[in-house]
Symmetry: none
Amino acid sequence: MSKEKIFKAAVSLFAKKGFAAVGVREIAMEAEVNISMISYYFGSKTGLLEEITSRFHERYYQAITEAVDESKPPEECVRLLIRNIVDFAREDNALIQATLNAIPLDISEIADIKAKGMSILVKEAGRLLSKFNLDPEDVVFLSIIGPFLLFGISAHFIVKPIQKRVLNIDFNDSYYESYSEILTTLLTEGIGGVAATRGKKGKGD
Amino acid sequence: MSKEKIFKAAVSLFAKKGFAAVGVREIAMEAEVNISMISYYFGSKTGLLEEITSRFHERYYQAITEAVDESKPPEECVRLLIRNIVDFAREDNALIQATLNAIPLDISEIADIKAKGMSILVKEAGRLLSKFNLDPEDVVFLSIIGPFLLFGISAHFIVKPIQKRVLNIDFNDSYYESYSEILTTLLTEGIGGVAATRGKKGKGD
Amino acid sequence: MSKEKIFKAAVSLFAKKGFAAVGVREIAMEAEVNISMISYYFGSKTGLLEEITSRFHERYYQAITEAVDESKPPEECVRLLIRNIVDFAREDNALIQATLNAIPLDISEIADIKAKGMSILVKEAGRLLSKFNLDPEDVVFLSIIGPFLLFGISAHFIVKPIQKRVLNIDFNDSYYESYSEILTTLLTEGIGGVAATRGKKGKGD
Amino acid sequence: MSKEKIFKAAVSLFAKKGFAAVGVREIAMEAEVNISMISYYFGSKTGLLEEITSRFHERYYQAITEAVDESKPPEECVRLLIRNIVDFAREDNALIQATLNAIPLDISEIADIKAKGMSILVKEAGRLLSKFNLDPEDVVFLSIIGPFLLFGISAHFIVKPIQKRVLNIDFNDSYYESYSEILTTLLTEGIGGVAATRGKKGKGD
DNA sequence: AATGAATGAGTTTTCATTCAT
DNA sequence: AATGAATGAAAACTCATTCAT
């Protein structure tokens, strides 16, 4: 279907070159549709990015909410969160790159979506932290740890094209086994350590 | 001096809008120089980004090498590394945003600089990890932990404009005290934890 | 139709000022179309010149092939060739000027078209010469006589603007009667004379 | 000396690309002088072309006047004329290309020089024709035969770069022996033939 | 649902020239 | 005699979008 072809083409191109560097003509060509179809389906090029950004946040939201389950122990939640993100990223790496790389914060529609999306994600992250006995209402703490988690876990998928150029690693299942394992340990131990230091004091500002 | 004014203006604008979204006209206007001066000094808009990207990597390289000192204990190194990055980021946040947000990997000159720069940074990160008794030659491990550190520590400075929109936090000295403290603990404990698990096994691929 | 209007305008302007000296803005204005239509129809300014150059060679090819007929005596062929070129030139003098004046051999696409076009023309000229019992395979001889004929016969149409400035001649039908008559005689006698000298010897290198 | 280096560089570049396609920056680079030196010595880029065009006409004037000598028989004059032009062209082919290819008749200074130069050349050509008993005052006849001679004889040197691409001929001394021989015969016989036809009638038009 | 011609403002880059040194 | 920074206009080309079909 044309609309989906346009969406896919746009994600792929935005991921490679960034939002502003990609022209609608290029998207239309890649999607093998007429240029006018983009305006027709998405209103404008910005409309396309809005939809991409929204879909990204939905996926991350899913990844977190599904991972943070009342009954599971904290470590298990972290493990699941990372697994979810890795699965998503491997399935649709371009969506991550397209969104995290696209900064057009000068376009207010996009900035709004990003701000709202990030608020929700960080709030969800708070639920995860509360499993470590950390205060989920501490905005300062969340403002530090939230982006750290989001970008830390996703970092590999942002720089993957660069790593492919220089590292000659086969990014296969076994690689992402190690990936999940290492980050799970690091974050569990790390957050645990932070909780141990902070737990006694509460907020820190 | 004209050249430096252009550089500063470009960093600031690229940080806000991304490389492709900024026009040379805009840069020239911001820098209060004639538009032709950009070609004159930097050859092209891409040439400008090349210099920005290079300078960024130099600064991060300094931040790491200075932090990882033979004589200091690992925790101290992590603390110093974070402090260095925070200092640099607070002093020149735009440079971080301009570089980390600018993906134009379709521009080979930039991709080359990024690839080379990241290789060097990751190698230096290996020296830090070796202080935790982790194998600094394990490329798979480094390929995971390197970007995690780089983006994790810098994440806040990438999303800062968004956070300013939604969080109403005063990003002052005391904020960055907490910032450094939390990340230091998290990374020290986290990496320590990883080392404890891996140390016995050696490489993991 | 827009495309043809652009073509005509470009030929006229290239003839007057030369390829490089004419801007697309000027062409668009002369053709009374939007500037973008040039890229739209011809890809680029160079694309326009490519089409002009091709069309020129087609016309000259027609002029020669039609003139050199198996059954006609050599003198008649020369007369017809000159008449054809004169007719064409009077009808579309600008096309000749635009092509023969445009040297951009630094633009490889144009150089290719010119090289190919000239090869074909010179080969056809060989057929004419064979009617004078001259060897049509003698490349050295052809390389001398070919351009001589092409530029000799067309010369008047190249310098016509200059002659109009200084000579105050009415370039009417009767003028071109004389023109054809004189050149026909000159070339018939001239080539005949060459044939008389060379015929006995064969090739001359 | 700087002035001469600029002149040489300009001739060479104009020959290759045409007047308008060459920038002063390029000329300065080729001549290894500072850009401002061009304005300094020649006033402007157009000033440079004026000097080139003038020098060209001087050389052609020399070539003709020296060839057309009272005492020599007509054939000898034609032979000498061709020899002179060939010698000049082989020595400084670029000057011919630079001048004959540069059409900027929209630049009045150049058009003036060309018009004046051509008038003189054509008048001199008249002296040659009078040796064949042709009327040297017949402007119509001269307007036809003059450019024919100028471009016919020079044609090879205009298209030489193209011929080099396709013909694989060694343009050596022996080649130009043939060249002179063929054109001498052709023109002597040709003009002679014309004279035979016209001689009885006088002027034609 | 789809086309493609058309628009006009936009892009980056290069131009010839000037001027203070 | 020579430099090189600086200028402002102009270059070719591409942009996202619209509209009649």
